[in-house]
């Protein structure tokens, strides 16, 4: 449970209409769509369905800040529900991950893969800056059903991870042909087995742009499980660099009540 949520960062959508036509330009455009380019906060409700039955929701508040040289986002994920986890915080800076429990005022370092336990893996589905971590193998046009079961013209990109740190070595990624808005993705293990299917849905105008505010994730390994992540209370805000330090975790709930 402690590592359930992890890197659920930057699930934010469309913020540009600048459409590139090369594969690289499209992938970069979709990253810009998913990452607003400045610090922000939002609240995420994660509900896991097993055999169609909804479990208890997990509610977290996410604080994200661009890490300029690395090109990725640093994030603080604070648990709000369930109450037994209230006030717990996860810090992520690349492969540097810490989990803070206010009960013992202790911060524990966890491995990048440990964040993938439980529902955390679903977080990673929607967080990565793909252009920085993946090489494009191919791109071609394809017609699919989107997350609302509407027919869409897309460009399908096949991506391969270029660093060992990526949780999914191969990704198939469908972008809207006209806007490069992310619509759907398939995530694969190193063995070639498909692990997850993600749909990006419910586009709304938030943080100054049109962005998807929901992700639906189907667990292919255990197909009884479907996870729905919904995002609300989006807000751009200043987040100082020193807050993304392990030593600041015990203080974060004081400065950001």
């Amino acid at each position: 449970m402690k590592t359930r949520i992890a890197a659920l960062l930057l699930m934010v959508g469309l913020c540009t209409q600048a459409v590139g036509t090369t594969p690289e330009a499209r992938l970069h455009a979709s990253d810009v769509i998913r990452n607003p380019g400045q610090s922000f906060t939002m609240t995420s409700t994660i509900t896991e369905y097993i055999d169609g039955q909804a479990g208890e929701p997990l509610v977290v508040q996410i604080f994200a800040r661009p890490d300029e040289p690395a090109g990725q986002f640093q994030s603080l994920v604070r648990f709000q529900l369930p109450r037994r986890d209230q006030g717990k915080i996860m810090l992520r800076r690349g492969q540097d991950l810490w989990f803070y429990d206010p009960a013992g005022r202790a911060s524990i370092r966890i491995s990048p893969q440990q964040r993938l336990l439980g529902q955390a893996s679903n977080g990673d589905v929607v967080t990565a800056n793909l252009a920085g971590d993946y090489r494009i193998e191919s791109m071609h046009a394809e017609t699919i059903l989107d997350g609302h079961r509407q027919t869409r013209q897309t460009q399908k990109l096949v991506l391969h991870g270029i660093t060992a740190a990526v949780p999914y070595p191969r990704v198939e990624y469908w972008l809207d042909d006209s806007s490069n808005q992310p619509l759907k993705a398939h995530f694969y293990a190193a063995s070639g087995q498909m692990l997850k299917i993600a749909y990006f849905r419910n586009v709304q105008f938030v943080m100054g742009a049109e962005r998807p505010t929901e992700t639906l994730i189907i667990d292919v390994v255990d197909p009884r499980k479907i996870t729905r992540m919904a995002y609300r209370d989006h807000r751009l805000m200043e987040l100082p660099q020193p807050w993304f330090q392990r030593g600041f975790l015990p203080r974060f709930n004081e400065v950001m009540p």
């Binding site: 169609g52 509610v59 709000q80 540097d96 005022r105 440990q114 498909m194 600041f248």
Partner: protein
């Protein structure tokens, strides 16, 4: 009905994936969410946390241990309630308090013994921060009872200089988190990739006869936290995303200690951690045997790895080294002393090791396995093992946690101490102990 239909539907998912039409296989209720997510009544600000818990211990005793049957209660029970408050006074100032009340009792042959209680003020501090949100550095000043962050070691944390500030109720029932902060002043600086802090903790004595003397239920435990003047300087830095390091320098009433911690991501699934501390002190054996020796410099260390296995389990293994613990020859001496008049004196080794929160043996091994969501979203399984490789004795502790409700958890641990009567863990006065813990979060 819904469940059955969903099961059928998902069977076709993988086949449908090839055609890009998996979404058509999903049940209709996933498409009823085209409106924004309904609000969940999340508590929002984390300024106030209240928790309550009850603990029940059922021990089984070693027949050869303990001189008096009165030291062998049939069972032990405790209850605790705690409140953690954080209050922002101004943009730059805040207060925090962490207070816990504990009530515990025991029963001997069915008769309840008098109930005892205490209140622990674990943290009570005022903080002032002096940087604006857009600053690239932050400076903070804390005054009051302060908790220093723990270091990396799971079973032994030698660089955690304040680890002994622990309050354990009678009969070692550990009800809730019982570590006390030290009273002092701390200055803390934070930058993007580094941080530093200086803590000054003066010697303080509770006045005899006052409400807050340590023997009173309201006692502040100053004898544990502020029995001498201490100053600690800590600097932490990130060499890269993979490496983090920390140095801790302690001035302890005239004595110096130097601690270091290091952690490294080797692969996405493997995390290494190590910590060490160099200090000048008497060995456990010398103190227990009242040997007339000078304190000597020695190294204490803990190093290990956390490995994530598959997608739901993790394994942590550690080796502990304590230069002040007993080596093989001293364990043989200790065993030989068990049947002599010096037995009680020799057994102080184990008591001292507990007080100093360090291994009694020069070498110790630890393994901890954790299976999260073990076949059910609300079930976690754990197993902990400690081994003294010098005498072959061990402690094993399987456990499970069942999240009965989002706010209610039930934990059960069964601990067994293994080894002969003349071994470190076999010397425990209990053969086994079963613990049930019910935790409620308000």
């Amino acid at each position: 009905m819904k469940s059955a239909s969903c099961s059928c539907i998902v069977l076709s998912l993988v086949a449908a994936a090839a055609g890009g039409n998996e979404i058509s296989s999903l049940p209709d209720h996933f498409f009823e969410f085209d409106q924004p997510e309904r609000e969940h009544h999340s508590p929002g600000p984390s300024r106030l946390r209240i928790h309550a818990e009850a603990v029940f211990h059922l021990p089984e005793y070693r027949t050869s241990a303990l001189p008096s049957p009165s030291d062998r209660p049939d069972w032990l029970a405790g209850a605790a309630a705690g409140v953690h408050v954080q209050k922002r006074l101004t943009d730059q100032q805040s207060l925090r308090a962490d207070v816990q009340g504990v009530l515990y009792t025991t029963a001997e042959r069915g008769d309840l013994r008098p109930t005892d209680w205490r209140v622990d003020v674990r943290e009570l501090a005022w903080t002032r921060q002096s940087a604006s949100h857009d600053a690239r550095w932050q400076r903070l000043l804390d005054i009051g009872r302060l908790t220093q962050p723990k270091t990396l070691g799971l079973g032994f944390a030698p660089a955690d200089h304040f680890r002994t500030a622990r309050v354990n109720p009678a009969h070692s029932i550990d009800v809730g988190e019982s570590r006390l902060g030290v009273v002092g002043v701390r200055k803390h600086w934070l930058w993007n990739r580094a941080e530093s802090s200086v803590l000054i903790s003066p010697k303080l004595t509770a006045l005899d006869g006052s409400l807050w003397q340590d023997s009173d239920g309201w006692g502040l435990g100053l004898a544990q936290t502020n029995d001498r003047l201490r100053t600690q300087w800590v600097i932490s830095f990130k060499a890269s995303d993979r490496w983090t390091a920390q140095t801790l320098l302690l001035w302890d009433d005239g004595d110096w200690e130097l601690g270091n911690t290091l952690s490294l991501v080797v692969t996405p699934a493997i995390l290494l951690h190590a910590e060490s501390n160099v200090a000048q002190r008497h060995s456990l054996w010398d103190v227990a045997m009242s040997a007339d020796t000078m304190p000597d410099w020695g190294l204490q260390a803990a190093w290990g790895a956390s490995i994530t296995l598959g997608l739901s389990t993790s394994l942590t293994m550690e080796h502990h080294y304590n230069a002040f613990g007993l080596d093989h020859a001293q364990w043989q001496q200790w065993q030989a002393a068990q049947n002599s008049p010096a037995a009680a004196q020799a057994n102080r080794v184990l008591q001292l090791a507990r007080q100093r929160d360090e291994p009694g043996s020069m070498h110790r091994l630890l393994a901890r396995w954790h299976w999260q969501e073990a076949g059910h979203p609300d079930l976690d399984l754990t197993a902990l093992g400690l081994l003294n490789p010098l005498d072959g004795s061990a402690m094993v502790q399987p456990g499970l946690t069942w999240h009965v409700q989002p706010d209610l958890s039930l934990t059960m641990h069964h601990t067994r101490w293994l080894g002969g009567d003349e071994s470190e863990f076999g010397k425990s006065f209990r053969v086994s102990n079963t613990e049930l813990r019910l935790q409620f979060h308000i």
